[in-house]
Amino acid sequence: MSAIHHPGEDLLWDYFRGALAPGLRLSVSTHLDLCPQCRDDLRVFTAIGGALLETTEGVAMSDNALDLALARIERPVDLPEVSDAPAPARRPAFLEGFELPPSLQSAEIRGRYFVAPGVWMAPIALPGEPRAAKTYLMCVKAGMEMPEHTHRGREITVMLQGQYRDHKGLYQRGDFTQCDEADDRHMPVMMGDVDCLCLVAQEAAIIPKTWLGWLLKPIARI
C-alpha cells in the first residue's frame, strides 16, 4: 500500500534544495520514507543536477588548488565517521506498538499530553524551528470525529497509522496533506477501528487546545 496524497512539486523541490523550515522538512522526509514515488522524483532531481553539473562551464580554481587538494588527502582524518546516522533517540513508552518511519526514529519526541479524552499530542523538538511553528505527533482514538473547523496558516499532516476521510479524499499511512485558510470548513472523519497517529507540522502559531479541546468529541462506534 503506498501513499496517494503527495507533497506538490514546489515542496519537494524546496526539500531537495534544503530550503524548508525544520517542521516541513521533517514532514516531507517522513513522507519520503513511506513513498517510493516521491523518492523517485528526488532521484530525477539528482540526475538532472548531475547532468547539469557535467555540462557546466567550469570556473578556474586558484593556482595552488590542486596542490592543496593533494596535500589535504594526506592529512589524517580528524573525526572518525562523521556521516553516520544519528543515534536513535530514546523512545518514549507511549510510542510502544507504533511503527515509526526512520525519519522519526531519530527525532526528539517529548512527553505526550491529552488535549481531549482519547486525543494526545507529543511535541517534537526541532533545532532551528521558528518560535511560532509547532511540530508534533497526534494520536486520535478510533471512532472520534473532528467537527468542522478552519485553519490559520499552513498545516501539514502525514498519516502514520489508521485512516480518515475528508472532502479531499481518504488518507492512510504515508499520505501527505496540506491544509490552509482555503480549507475553511474542514471536517475529517476517522475511519476504521485503528487509532490514528499522524505527524503534524504547523507553520503559524495556533494553540492546539483552543481548537482541539472543544472541537473533538467522541462519537458512537458503528
Binding site: 523541490w13 588527502i73 582524518v77 532551528g128
Partner: protein, 190 residues
C-alpha cells in the same frame, strides 16, 4: 576499457581511488570536477572563495567516501553532485544558524543522505540526453531551479508568469524525465 587518462570515466577514477588510493586518479578527478562545482555553487550565490572551499571539500569527501561508491550501481557525476549539494545546504544552514540562533545546537533531523538517492549510470545518461530535448520553456524552469537555486514562486516572479504555470511546466518536464528513466531504471534502492 582502456586506461588512457583522458578517456577514463569518473566511475573508473573513483573505483581506482577506492581500490589503491590512486593519487593520479584523484588529481584527474579534481581537475575535471572542482572547477565545475565552483561554477555551479557560485551561480547559486556563493562568493568565489566560498565556492572554491566548497569544491575542495566536495572532492575531499569523494576521496574519503570512495569506498562507499558502487560503480556498478551508481553514476559518479550524480554522486559527486549529491555530495556538493549536501555541503552547500549544510553551509547555508550554518550561516543562517549563526545569524539567527547563535546558541542553538544542531543535530541530525532526518534528511536523506546523499547516497540514498542513487542514480544508475544508464539513467544519468538518459536524463542528460533528454534535457537537451526538452522544450525551451521547461528548460528555463530547470535552469533557474538548479543553477540559481530559486523556489518556484521566485521563478514565477523572475519570469513574470503565474506560479501555476511554473508548477505545470516542472511537472511536464519531470514526467518526461521520469518516464524515460523508468523505462531503463534498474530500480536501485537503498
Amino acid at each position: 576499457p582502456d586506461s588512457k587518462n583522458c578517456a577514463e570515466t569518473p566511475e573508473a577514477l573513483i573505483t581506482r581511488i577506492a581500490g589503491t588510493r590512486d593519487r593520479a586518479a584523484y588529481a584527474t578527478l579534481f581537475t575535471r570536477f572542482a572547477p565545475r562545482i565552483k561554477a555551479f555553487v557560485m551561480g547559486q550565490g556563493m562568493t568565489a572563495q566560498e565556492a572554491e572551499d566548497l569544491a575542495q571539500e566536495a572532492l575531499l569527501n569523494v576521496w574519503r567516501k570512495a569506498h562507499m561508491f558502487d560503480a556498478s550501481k551508481a553514476s559518479a557525476v550524480t554522486w559527486i553532485y549529491s555530495i556538493a549539494r549536501n555541503l552547500r545546504i549544510d553551509a547555508a544552514r550554518k550561516a543562517k544558524r549563526v545569524r539567527e540562533l547563535p546558541e542553538d545546537l544542531w543535530q541530525g533531523d532526518g534528511d536523506k543522505a546523499a547516497d540514498e538517492q542513487i542514480v544508475d549510470t544508464q539513467s544519468a545518461q538518459i536524463i542528460k540526453k533528454m534535457l537537451d530535448a526538452l522544450p525551451p520553456e521547461q528548460k528555463d524552469i530547470l535552469r533557474l531551479s538548479f543553477y540559481e537555486d530559486l523556489s518556484q514562486s521566485d521563478i514565477a516572479k523572475t519570469l513574470s508568469i503565474p506560479l501555476g504555470t511554473v508548477k505545470s511546466r516542472l511537472r511536464l518536464a519531470m514526467t518526461r524525465l521520469r518516464t524515460a528513466m523508468d523505462g531503463k531504471s534498474t530500480g536501485v534502492k537503498s
